[in-house]
């Protein structure tokens, strides 16, 4: 989790809370949105699949999204020490209606889906669940 172990910036940022408290706070936020970690991860995965069909270029997704998938060399292990390695693949989704965009990686999808982990506050790659839900327009149910 710490800077310089798996990634240069680590996964916790300057968050001084215990990991369990970080997970708990995000769980509460997700619940207050009427969502689950799985639902959020599923939607991120759905945009990823659409983006993949663009073969590295932006692709339009109805009703008002664009998405592109990028990859760089290398793979990362999960900080929770799950088996296997995760490709350094990033997905950029633009919500053209809201004029907002979000970038996430395969690691984000894995961490949210399996561990309910959105990373510590001010971590370089933290994604707030409410921001993911807003930009990807994830609705309860």
């Amino acid at each position: 989790m710490q800077a310089g172990v798996i990634t240069g910036a680590g996964f916790l940022g300057n968050d001084r809370r215990n990991l369990i408290d970080i997970l708990d706070a995000d769980f509460r936020t997700v619940a207050s949105l009427g969502l689950t970690h799985n639902k959020i991860a599923e939607t991120m995965e759905k945009f990823r699949k659409h983006a993949e069909s663009g073969l590295g270029e932006f692709i339009s997704i109805a009703p008002h999204f664009e998405a592109r998938i990028d990859a760089v060399r290398g793979k990362l292990p999960c900080p929770f020490e799950d088996r296997g390695l995760i490709s350094k693949t990033s997905i950029m989704v633009k919500n053209l209606f809201l004029k907002k965009e979000i970038i996430y990686t395969d690691m984000h999808i894995h961490l949210i889906n399996i561990h309910g982990f959105y990373q510590g506050k001010r971590s370089l790659f933290r994604l707030d669940p409410e921001i993911i839900a807003e930009i990807l327009e994830i609705i309860p149910g």
């Binding site: 240069g8 993949e52 073969l55 590295g56 990028d70 760089v72 290398g74 390695l85």
Partner: protein, 363 residues
């Protein structure tokens, strides 16, 4: 109850104290002395023991590929160790397959040199050097791709095969607290010995591409090492299909320049996929090869704007339309894993032998 708690506390304190003592002892008085590393059963290197194999070899000017600066997070720095390495560390195991484990493959960034070692590395690694070089020029190719030309010191030259890549160091700056290396394909001709060019696409939030796009200036000194990789045109007579998208242009451009240099007469066709006109770059330069080689350039746009007279559709669709008699071809692909996978499927369907499809897949 209190007695149990007291015993646990004492035991924990003793264990912590012992661990702390060992760390301090290792730091201050840990002297492993000299060790001999025998490379490929011939070369013997006398080295100071105590550091990782990766850094010890680097000190001997032997550069093992590593994209993470030795933190065990890229899995690139594999070497075969015949003897002297000790047990596998937990940090190595995710990267090592069962077959690799049987043959003694290790992550050189995780193995500490504590005694004599026997290792095997590919001979090609002896051609890898580290350069401290100067940024000669920076040019915008598109809104998110820059061409960087780096001049080596006057007394130094680089020998590489068209299609290979180098690693560029990003120094400490606001996005990274320690230097980080990333790999980029060389875009220039192997005939150009005193400088190298790269075409680098901005990855939003990416540590190295952000540095290169937002901070790197003409005149800056950069550290880079290489060349690496086995993506290069194989000798033969078959017709060649090149396919690329985005910054995947770089190695293909280098290969075309090398074909001119070698007076290569093989027929070749190059499919370059982009979304719109503003994602295309270097088209005029690539078209000049149509007069110098038995070569055709086919840029294709997936979302062309009105007025576009070239090919339209996903690059896979365009390849599918153009390629007949697949067995006559071999193919060289560079781009995202999704693009490569989709193109391999199409090429195999058209009859190109899977064994003759070579690619540089990012990821």
């Amino acid at each position: 109850m209190n007695a149990v708690f007291l015993h646990i506390t004492i035991f924990t304190a003793l264990a912590c104290g012992l661990a702390l003592f060992m760390i301090i002892a290792d730091f201050f008085i840990g002297d492993y002395g000299q060790a001999v590393i025998t490379v490929n059963n011939s070369k013997k290197l006398e080295v100071e023991a105590g550091s990782t194999l990766l850094s010890v070899l680097k000190g001997q000017k032997i550069f093992i590929p590593s994209a993470c600066g030795g933190r065990g997070s890229c899995g690139l720095c594999k070497v075969k160790i015949i003897s002297g390495a000790g047990d596998y560390l937990a940090t190595e195991l995710p990267w090592i397959s069962a077959d690799e484990k049987k043959s003694g493959i290790r992550l050189s960034c995780q193995v500490k040199v504590r005694r004599n070692l026997e290792i095997e590395i590919p001979e090609s690694l002896f051609n890898i050097h580290e350069y401290r070089a100067r940024v000669e020029s920076i040019r915008n190719l598109t809104y998110d791709i820059k061409e960087i030309k780096i001049s080596l010191p006057e007394e130094e030259q680089i020998n590489f095969k068209a299609g290979q890549f180098m690693q560029i160091e990003t120094p400490v700056y606001e996005l990274t607290a320690q230097p980080v290396y990333r790999a980029y394909s060389i875009a220039s001709s192997p005939g150009q010995k005193n400088s190298v060019e790269f075409e680098i696409r901005l990855v939003p939030g990416g540590i190295c591409t952000t540095y290169i796009h937002k901070h790197l200036k003409i005149g800056d000194t950069v550290t880079l090492n290489g060349p690496y990789g086995d993506f290069f045109v194989r000798p033969g007579q078959k017709k060649i299909i090149f396919i690329a998208g985005g910054s995947g242009m770089a190695p293909i451009k280098s290969m075309l320049a090398d074909m001119v240099l070698q007076k290569n007469t093989r027929q070749a066709v190059y499919f370059f996929g982009a979304r719109t006109q503003k994602d295309l770059f270097l088209t005029d330069e690539i078209r000049t090869y149509e007069n110098r080689l038995a070569f055709r350039f086919i840029p294709a746009l997936s979302s062309p704007e009105p007025g576009w007279k070239g090919e339209s559709g996903l690059i896979t669709e365009v390849v599918d339309r153009y390629i007949q008699n697949g067995p006559e071809y071999e193919a060289y692909l560079c781009g995202s894993p999704g693009m490569i996978n989709a193109c391999v499927s199409v090429l195999v369907k058209k009859g190109v032998s899977e064994k003759e499809i070579y690619f540089d897949k990012f990821g």
